[in-house]
């Protein structure tokens, strides 16, 4: 994991001091709310229904036990004992007092964390594959590149007042676990015909009111030109992105208006004009950062590891089920990647209590080389677990309610905070997720992989557009209604869902989802996931089943 050097530390101290002074000026009446809002937003502080909400960056989803313990401490001391992990590999605290925020930021700074650029029209927290550095299907570790992007984008003087927010995601694996195609810029590390590793650069993805899947801007960018190329894209966007309409100001709208070819011409022209020497990334610089991400030394598996594990699995079907769904292959023999589900049935998705965070910090030290990751699916990951340790880890997790065996299944629902917390919401999200997960948990195995995603308004924080089944809260004359989409997907074959028909009232959502699942179960062929069946048979059978009865 990246460790700050003296410059990083000094920078963050300066930042906390600057923010402390901004809060002081606000509380003293020197800054109006209009003047202060952009400043607090640049430190991730929103005003929500019940209090301020602080969004803290977890750069590319990487957490250490020390960091997680400080998050737990913040939950206890400054909040109500829990935090909410989001779809952007951030954590949000919902009950924050403005006057305490400078102290919170100082506590975070002590463990090399901050909330810089978790809001505002700037380059946001860079997200990445949560299995990075452990996955068996990646060509190299993407985290050094994420860290390079993090540093370059931090308080970027030219790109802190863009037309709109700007999100970058990076993956180096065959399976896209970072929703790369839904980002303003998506980066896939690829190997070209000559065997060199570089970036495929995508641009123009995004959700919100006008969802779009990113398109390829460049098939192959040499790695050392990454920052120059990102700057070229951002400069074109800063110049031409719309500023007259909030809903048309993301880069996806610019890409749509120009067309990808003209966009490419503009970017390549700027990139060429910058010259070869712009924003160099000398090999020594890259190597110095990459050294922070050296793979952990993992013990070779013992001769009886697998037989031990097999015996434990045979004795405990619940353990076997958990291993089946929440454990993924690791590149190192005898090891595994464990997904810790934050989705117990009937509970708010993505929430973790202070006690759970502290336990996970301990377990990461004991079983996972001191590493924890946050996923965009609002779960946590222990990336380096010895397979032999899986039964013990599972027991510890189970004692804290963290061993729900549903990763990637129907009850592993993504949900935004919705109207229970969010001042922009049209309808509640969490109660819908709770009812659905309670209802579906018993059928998780029968249904198989299914991604249900819920947002409380069109901003799409819950990624509903790309849910296999997406649920969007709308307000119909003061009543909560929900519009349902099907066939979306957030992976390497990203697709936007199609609306099945008129929105349904809150009480009908569970039944409607049941009906859609029923059609899928009836018509699926061997090995088909929900979106596969949908692509084969189209929307009609689902629509008929849902609306014919009414």
């Amino acid at each position: 994991m990246y460790r700050y050097d003296e410059f990083d530390r000094r920078f963050l101290e300066e930042r906390v001091a600057q923010y402390r002074d901004q809060v002081r000026r606000r509380l003293a009446g020197q800054l109006s709310e209009d003047e202060f809002r952009p400043l607090r937003l640049m430190n991730g502080l929103y005003l929500q229904l019940h209090a301020y909400m602080l969004r803290i960056a977890i750069p590319y989803g990487s957490l250490s036990p020390a960091k997680l313990r400080v998050l737990a401490r913040i939950a206890r001391r400054y909040d109500r004992g829990y935090g909410h992990f989001t779809t952007r590999q951030n954590i949000q605290f919902n009950w924050i007092k403005l006057e305490e925020t400078p102290d919170i930021l100082a506590e975070l700074a002590a463990v090399e964390m901050h909330s810089i650029q978790t809001s505002g029209n700037c380059i946001r927290n860079t997200t990445a594959d949560p299995f990075a550095g452990a996955a068996d299907d990646e060509i190299e570790d993407p985290r050094p590149w994420c860290e390079i992007i993090r540093q370059w984008s931090t308080l970027h003087p030219e790109f802190s007042f863009l037309p709109r927010k700007f999100k970058i995601a990076v993956s180096a694996a065959a399976t896209d676990r970072a929703a790369v195609r839904l980002h303003d810029i998506g980066l896939y590390l690829r190997r070209n015909a000559a065997g060199e590793v570089g970036f495929e650069v995508l641009v123009g993805g995004g959700l919100g009111r006008t969802p779009m899947i990113a398109k390829t801007l460049r098939d192959f960018l040499p790695k050392h030109r990454l920052l120059a190329y990102l700057e070229a894209i951002l400069r074109v966007y800063n110049e031409f992105g719309r500023r007259d309409n909030l809903y048309k100001s993301r880069i996806k709208i610019l890409v749509q208006a120009l067309g990808i070819d003209k966009m490419r011409d503009a970017v390549e022209r700027e990139f060429g004009a910058m010259g070869e020497s712009a924003l160099p990334l000398p090999p020594a610089t890259v190597a110095a950062i990459a050294a922070h991400f050296a793979p952990p030394t993992l013990a070779a598996p013992g001769a009886d590891d697998e037989t031990e594990l097999a015996r434990a699995l045979a004795q405990a079907p619940a353990l076997a089920r958990w291993v089946r769904y929440n454990v993924a292959p690791h590149r190192a023999a005898g090891h595994a990647i464990v997904t810790v589900s934050l989705k117990p049935p009937g509970r708010p998705p993505g929430d973790a209590s202070a006690a759970q965070m502290e336990l996970l910090a301990d377990l990461a030290e004991r079983y996972s080389q001191g590493e924890i990751r946050a996923t965009y699916e609002q779960n946590l990951v222990l990336p380096h677990v010895r397979r032999r340790d899986l039964p013990a880890l599972w027991r510890h997790l189970g004692e804290a309610g963290l061993a729900t065996a549903n990763a990637g299944l129907a009850s592993d629902i993504i949900s935004c905070p919705g109207l229970d917390y969010c001042s922009l919401a049209n309808a509640r999200s969490i109660p819908v997720a709770e009812r659905l997960s309670r209802h579906l948990a018993a059928r998780d195995q029968e249904i198989g992989e299914l991604h249900i995603k819920i947002s409380g308004c069109i901003n799409a924080c819950g990624h509903h557009h790309v849910g296999h089944i997406g649920i969007l809260g709308v307000d119909k004359n003061g009543e909560e209604f929900y519009q349902i989409t099907i066939g979306g997907s957030a992976d390497e074959n990203a697709a936007l869902g199609a609306i099945v028909g008129p929105a349904v009232p809150s009480a009908a959502v569970t039944g409607a989802v049941d009906t859609l699942i029923g059609v899928y179960l009836d018509l699926r062929r061997e090995g088909e996931r929900f979106p596969d069946t949908y692509r084969r048979i189209g929307a009609a059978p689902f629509k008929e089943a849902l609306y014919a009865a009414a």
């Binding site: 300066e14 930042r15 901004q22 020197q30 029209n121 308080l155 003087p157």
Partner: protein, 163 residues
């Protein structure tokens, strides 16, 4: 309007006549881009120093031939959210080598001064509060920067290389 430059708040020595007014003979003056385009040759022959008021929707690259003639280019920040002029500033300094005064005008806020300075802007049109609230101090709030800038201060890559 008071001007923040070189760490001090003072008066603006430049005049900013609109297109219908004639230019003062003795004082340095700025013109709009439209006027520059129509009266370019006459303006270039003028004795007093000339400056340009650059709107934020025109690429400075269109002025590549001309920038050397200006003693001042003013950039427009109509709202704090409209950050187009940050890119204009960097292009003027880094790409076109503009050496004159680059001035931020419009809705210039204390907490944006340092971003502007890093992009090469060296003068700021500010309100009366600038003195009371010690705006010059905002330029010194950081001495670690993660990007190369146009203000001559070292960035982190150089600081690290120096150990």
């Amino acid at each position: 309007m008071p001007l923040l430059k070189d760490g001090r708040v003072g008066d603006d020595p430049w005049r900013h006549p609109d297109d219908a007014e004639s230019l003062p003979d003795d004082a340095p003056a700025t013109v709009s881009l439209a006027r520059w385009r129509t009266e370019r040759d006459a303006l270039a022959r003028r004795a007093g120093r000339i400056g340009l008021r650059l709107p934020n929707d025109v690429s400075p690259l269109e002025l590549a031939e001309d920038v050397g003639r200006f003693g001042l280019i003013t950039l427009a920040f109509p709202r704090f959210t409209d950050g187009r002029a940050y890119s204009q500033a960097r292009l003027l300094r880094a790409r076109l080598g503009f050496r004159g005064e680059l001035r931020a005008t419009g809705n210039v806020l204390r907490d944006q001064l340092l971003f502007m300075r890093r992009c090469g802007i060296d003068a700021f049109e500010v309100g009366e509060r600038a003195l009371a609230e010690n705006w010059p101090a905002a330029l010194g709030e950081f001495d670690v920067f993660y990007q190369p800038g146009e203000d001559g201060r070292p960035w982190i890559a150089r600081q690290r290389a120096a150990g």
